[in-house]
Symmetry: C2
Subunit: 344 residues, 2 copies
């Protein structure tokens, strides 16, 4: 899933060029490339599918030349994750009804790729031989109020895989007191938005719980991989309800499983999370960019284009982000105002 | 005089493109253009001379198309103001021995141009009819330690011009306590580096006090305005002593005059002086650049290229300067370290 607009990372990320296409970590690979890389050895490139906006399709092709053009699905408008997943699921099912799928955002990070791959392999083994809807739960390390939570029923490990449990309930983004309560219990996990299932399972679940969305993609069955597909998608996709897969399926279906995992995951939803997930200098500064000099500065996250020379003196706890023709300097504690700052 | 390298204004000003060639105030004209403009109505363009580095000559021509190529003098190396003034003085004398001269840096600012022109006209009237060496003294508004001072003998106004006094002594850049003492007296003025004299006076003074420098330019007399001039200057100019006109003449000659004046002058030697001399928003921020938004910020000087969008939140008393591929963020109180910051 690569259709996000990444507005919270302005000015690094803009609707014209959102964060999945950016080398956010300064490691030489963009977030979508890192996501692609994480599946090497698990999923051959010819089985990778990308659902994105029409306007980002060329950038996806440029960044992921390994992915065939007809595996890049172009949404004419944003309708959240349920229509996105429905679209690609119907297409995959039309050519491989037995496919086993992993659904993942393209703009998250994973620090421990080896553990990620172990978890994904184990999860796919599980869904290969069951009709389970499986979500990955992340062991929380702090009372984060920016994530939804999954409560697992730890008394019911699945019979096929002792690491996997039934989901008791999904919890919306909590307030701080609630988040603190969640973190103290061992049965609460962050909802990562990474799902594993076989294609029949999700298609059937959508048919049951989202019949109107399902009808759209069912009707288009004769046209997938044809010249008419895009034209029809452009007509029909906008009629889908704007709804997340969590609301559309997860909170409705009876039998959902969670795989609690711990592979250094972050959705990189905020500059603060980038700071938390980056390697830092001895003063706690995350410096992304080749030529950044810090004097008497602490706890800053600096993100600049590679060629910039940057000298920063006397700042504590600031975001300094520069891209093309835009510069942001702002206290990390004020980053929820970035949408306000980025408005014209 | 347009040969300075402006290192204290890094990164806006660099040795490749120093501050005299920059629209420092964001008014649409560079400092050298503003300097040229100030003399309109006083000195016809064909009588303007620019002494600069060889590497800046093309930029001078571009910015001052009114100045003829053979009025742009190209120094092969930096030798401070005495050789610079000697070179142009010998050339001017060779074509007009009765010329009346104003010598001015090209990277200072003057807020009250009308008063500046009144003072210059009055000063030139004075030197037109006398062999006086005249310097403009600026009425100090604060105990500035970055300027040299001139002590006037206020009991001796000149007979020809009641605004002009004999100089008692030149004072080096003082420490703060001394500067505070100076400012309390009415007889101390900032040394502006703006001089008025007729060409014979300065040539004679140089012959007396700087014979070795004088010999260089005397020897070249047959070659000025010829094809050989630049080649010979390139050979001979580097042999001149590196010395300011203050040390070379002012502090040695007996009869020096000062014209105390008050026309909102600054040498723009520091970011702080730019802040002091710029128009400010209600929170004391000097914002130079078209698209700068400030939130909860005070007493900052922001200087960016015209096209940039800049958002700054939560800064008090900082320099934020961006040019091409370089960004500086630094407390104004630390700006004396800019040379350190700009080093590779």
């Amino acid at each position: 899933m690569a259709g996000g607009v990444g507005s919270r990372f302005w000015p690094m990320s803009t609707p014209d060029y959102p964060k999945q296409f950016i080398d956010v970590l300064g490691c030489g690979r963009t977030l979508i490339q890192l996501t692609f890389d994480r599946f090497k050895g698990i999923c051959p490139a010819e089985n990778v599918w990308v659902v994105t906006s029409e306007k980002y399709a060329e950038e996806v092709k440029r960044q992921l030349p390994e992915v065939a053009d007809d595996h890049i699905l172009r949404e004419p408008c944003r309708r959240n994750t349920a229509p996105c997943i429905a679209y690609v699921s119907w297409k995959i099912k039309s050519i491989n009804p037995k496919a086993n799928m992993v659904v993942t955002p393209s703009d998250h990070i994973v620090m421990d790729v080896k553990e990620f791959q172990r978890v994904i392999r184990s999860a796919m083994q599980f869904t290969n031989s069951s009709d389970a809807i499986l979500t990955l739960g992340m062991k929380p390390t702090r009372p984060e109020t920016g994530y939804g939570y999954i409560e697992a029923d730890l008394s019911y490990p699945s019979t096929n895989n002792k690491e996997i449990y039934r989901v008791d309930s999904f919890k919306e983004k909590p307030d701080l007191a609630t988040a603190e309560r969640y973190v103290k219990k061992s049965s609460f996990y962050w909802n990562s938005g990474i799902f594993v299932w076989n294609v029949n399972t999700i298609v059937n679940a959508l048919r049951v719980y989202q019949p109107s969305i399902s009808k759209v993609f069912e009707r288009l069955l004769p046209y997938y991989f044809s010249e008419k597909e895009q034209e029809l998608i452009n007509q029909e996709f906008p009629t889908c309800e704007n709804i997340s897969i969590d609301y559309a399926i997860m909170e409705k279906a009876d039998e959902i499983f969670v795989f609690p995992a711990d592979f250094g995951w972050s959705d990189l939803g905020t500059w603060g999370s980038l700071l938390a997930n980056s390697s830092k200098d001895p003063h706690g500064n995350a410096l992304i960019g080749k030529n950044i000099k810090m004097y008497e500065s602490r706890n800053c996250v600096v993100h600049t284009t590679q060629e910039k020379k940057v000298v920063i003196q006397g700042l504590d706890g600031y975001i300094i982000a520069e891209k093309d023709d835009t510069l942001l300097i702002c206290r990390l504690t004020e980053e929820q105002r970035i949408k306000e700052f980025s408005a014209e």
